[in-house]
Amino acid sequence: MTTEEAKLILQSYRPGGGDDADPFFSEALKLLRSEPELRRWFEGVQNFDGLMRRAMASQSPPAGLREAILARKNAPPRTTQANSRHFLKVFLPLAAAVAIFAGILQFERSSEHQGFQGMTVASFTKQALEIKEQGRISLGTKSTDPVQLSRWLAERGAPSNFVLPPGLHGLPALGCQSYSLGGTKVSLICFTLGENRIAHLFVVDRKSLSDAPSDTTPTLHEENGLAFATWTSGGKSYVLTGDNLSKETIRRLI
């Protein structure tokens, strides 16, 4: 075996000695004893491999992933990419949030709320803002546990697999609520920014809207003094508004 052949083989030798018993490496390892230069090279490779191994190990799974896997044990496997979006997504970003909660809102189907067959981005936005403006927001559960929040939404068939915008990461959550608008579920999660400032994030499945684009960046709006943002991403459409939130504050949240 030449030195170059030994190097090729030893590049596949795992740091930590996991391959000590594999005869495939024995001749190359034996060569290390007689070739100091090869040994120095191998020590360098092992050092570098050790650094990389530790770097890899430093990447921790998101909080709640294990629990989500265990909770889903008895659920049937999902078959499409869109369907595979799991409720975990809601509590990946929520994991850093501290939750406080209050209330219940039941938004009954009524004549003023048309079926989602004809619902558009504009009508979804309008109804979400109406819920806020008319003071109909209350929260269905109280929990500091993001897993529990996700389960609560998922149990009610409400969207639970959405991604929070960067500015909401780490904000203390107040809670969540599910709405039934024309038979389609809408989720709401509220976050506190302190000083009576509360952010309300409404989420609906994009497929429930007749005209939702595939993906859009958040757009800021202001109507009648109420600031809000809308966007569609990852199969969900969002409306973000709030109590006592300026347009600039909304901008920082999205």
């Binding site: 170059e4 090729l8 596949s12 090279w41 491999d49 799974p61 992933l65 889903r72 496997p77 975990l88």
Partner: protein
């Protein structure tokens, strides 16, 4: 499937599966999806896998295939014919920054092309030997070996490049003189 066995397998492998999924997709949410879907299939079909090593191999293979099917339909990640790559011969005084931040090392790894990044990820997860990596990726053992060798060269160069850009002090690292000899494996 018994809950105890399922939970044991989850506890043993979900973290490394997530890391693998993260390096494949580069997106945390996609990685989490891949892991959940893999375990959902395992819960439904993995009854016959009563050995932890077999379960591990099955899980990584399933996640990889799921990723290719979902996210990489139009472009096979790993061909049977190893591609030619015009690697620069590593400098004799090649060096790498031993104190480089882990994030920089991972950034360098992320910057590699798929076929190099994936084989290195499996290698550095330290769960699999070269034979098992070949099985997971569905390529010959020789391809894994040559890819590992080349990928390490590239990673070291990327790391050195980052070290220069960031102005980090670098320390000598033994050069690998066999880059050319591995090209045809």
């Amino acid at each position: 499937m018994e809950n105890d066995w399922f939970q044991y397998v989850v506890d043993q492998f979900y973290a490394d599966l997530y890391r693998f999924g993260l390096k494949l997709s580069r997106k945390p949410e996609d990685a989490a999806d891949l892991v959940q879907q893999t375990f959902a299939v395992f819960a439904a079909k993995g009854d016959q896998l009563r050995d932890a090593d077999k379960a591990r191999q099955w899980l990584f293979t399933t996640l990889y295939r799921d990723y290719v099917a979902k996210y990489h339909k139009s472009k096979p990640l790993v061909s049977l014919d190893d591609e030619e790559l015009d690697l620069k011969e590593p400098a004799v005084e090649s060096s790498v920054h031993r104190d480089a931040e882990r994030s920089e090392l991972l950034h360098a790894l992320d910057s590699l092309e798929d076929h190099h990044r994936i084989v290195l990820t499996l290698f550095y997860l330290n769960q699999h030997n070269y034979r098992e990596i070949a099985e997971i990726l569905g390529v010959p053992i020789g391809t894994v070996m040559s890819r590992l060798s080349r990928a390490k060269d590239l990673l070291r160069m990327k790391t050195e490049e980052l070290a220069r850009i960031e102005g980090i002090k670098i320390v000598p690292f033994p050069s690998d003189q066999q880059g050319k000899s591995s090209k045809n494996h």
